[in-house]
Amino acid sequence: MSLELCNETAPTLAQVRQSLVSLIKQADRAGANALLNSWAAHHGYEQVFKELLEPALIGIGESITGEKHTLAQAYVAAKVAEDMLTRAVNQPGASDHDEPAKGPVVLGNPEGDFHALGRRMVATMLRSKGWLIHDLGNDVPAEEFIGQALATGARIIGVSAMTMTTAQGIRALRQEIDARGLRGRIQLAVGGAVFLVMPGLAEDVGGDGTASSMFAAPALFDRLWQASLQAELSHA
């Protein structure tokens, strides 16, 4: 799909966003990429993110939260964001991107959890918002999460769990953070399928916050980062 963006009948920004949302919901990755490329050709990749992709992803997150949400739609949204990120960083002048990188943060699945899909989609969403991610992969022990956070200066550890059993394993990470006196300084973000169907589980396993979908993850990480800074100030 391509849209003529420069003549007198060019669609409004709102219409282009709506077209993008519609294409992603139909799992039309090629169509979504064509539309974004067309926009980027006239406005540049930075504007693609600011004016088109980010608002569209937020819109998708709002519109497909709940029963109409399918994993396939979320997957396509993440793929489109990933495609656009890849293209943007390969553009001449990409280093001119004036938005400072956020983070770093550490992501991973807890011990015994091998369901990578959700974590990867969240990582893509975070990268699209400028976060620097250290993705530790599946089956990560608590000590490794903390070791990486300390080594990289990460203020947030994001843990994705698919099942109740593996979500319970997050408690060990919470205990380890507290035992090392890092509560507040290192914020624990938790998420994954099981958290969506079990209200209160995030608090129960010791999480500092959770998000209802991958689309809401960047806002959560913004909040937790600020909470970490505040905690450090209050201890200074």
């Binding site: 799992a27 015994g112 091998f114 059993t165």
Partner: protein
Amino acid sequence: MHSAMRFANLLRDQPTDRRLFTLVLSLYGARLTACPLDQHYTDPLAYARGQSAVRETFQPDVLFAPVAVALIGAAFGGRLRYLTSNAPTLAQPAIESAGEWQDLNIPDPERQPHLVFVREALRRMVAEHRDQVPVAALFLTPVDIPMLVMGMDAWMDTVLFDRPAAQRIARSLIPFFVTMTNGYLDDGAAYVILPCAFASPGIVPRTIAEQFSRPIMAEALAQLRGPVALHHLDPPLLPHLDLLADLPAVGGFSLASADSLSQARTLLGRQPILLGGPEVRLLRQGTSGEVEATCRAVLEDRRDDPRFILCNSGADLWLDTPPENIHAVRRAVESWASER
């Protein structure tokens, strides 16, 4: 009246002394026999012993052969991790992309150890219980097996962005699926449960369920020698139920607690058996009073629907589900019957 008679009467539209009920207690058998889970999922005798304990303790009307889909992925060469509080999980799929599929060997159902374990556990259970309690087995359709062979990411990618390859792969699995499922039926399984992932409204949009999954499922199911029940997996199934309604060999639907059983019955007509009831999370975390009340509400909702089995929605019950909550399900069925 024992469970096998109830089940037979249900199928023949004959009266039963009470509503049938069952719970997926595949994992729970290990708790009752204090069996380490690596043994529970490798030793057919140990597994069957666990299901005997389930029958003795809770008296469900249907027992279950091993519910451990990761074993299917391991049979293709994936790396299995045995857990201490849940069924085994796949630590590493056999392959990472559709491009590797052509070099993959389809496992031999008669020789591959993980497949033989499930088959042998089923045979032992049938030999011990069939005269009195039906035994159900679980497998996956050809559109869902690949997610265990190449991982969810790679299979999702293939289905979404390389449909010809996805169709080729799923179709190549039809003979394996037919051999395995007919094998379970030949071994005495009363029916085979088939969870629906790539036909689920929570996983794929309707167009994919309709254009990709349904035709392949229809082709595969047409070759079966006995009944299957389609399972909702976790999300509600109702939005796609019309697509699955007239598939061959489908005798029942196991629905989510969020599905409307009334709407499902209206959509499906009177013939298919419906299974539904409290979700596994309620059974794990609710009180026995809440569980019993939920079961009674479901039974009341199905008052005029004889072709119904009270069964937990969701997957296998967690190991730490309080036994009194499981007893509460049977108590609800018995007390509801006695009040009629």
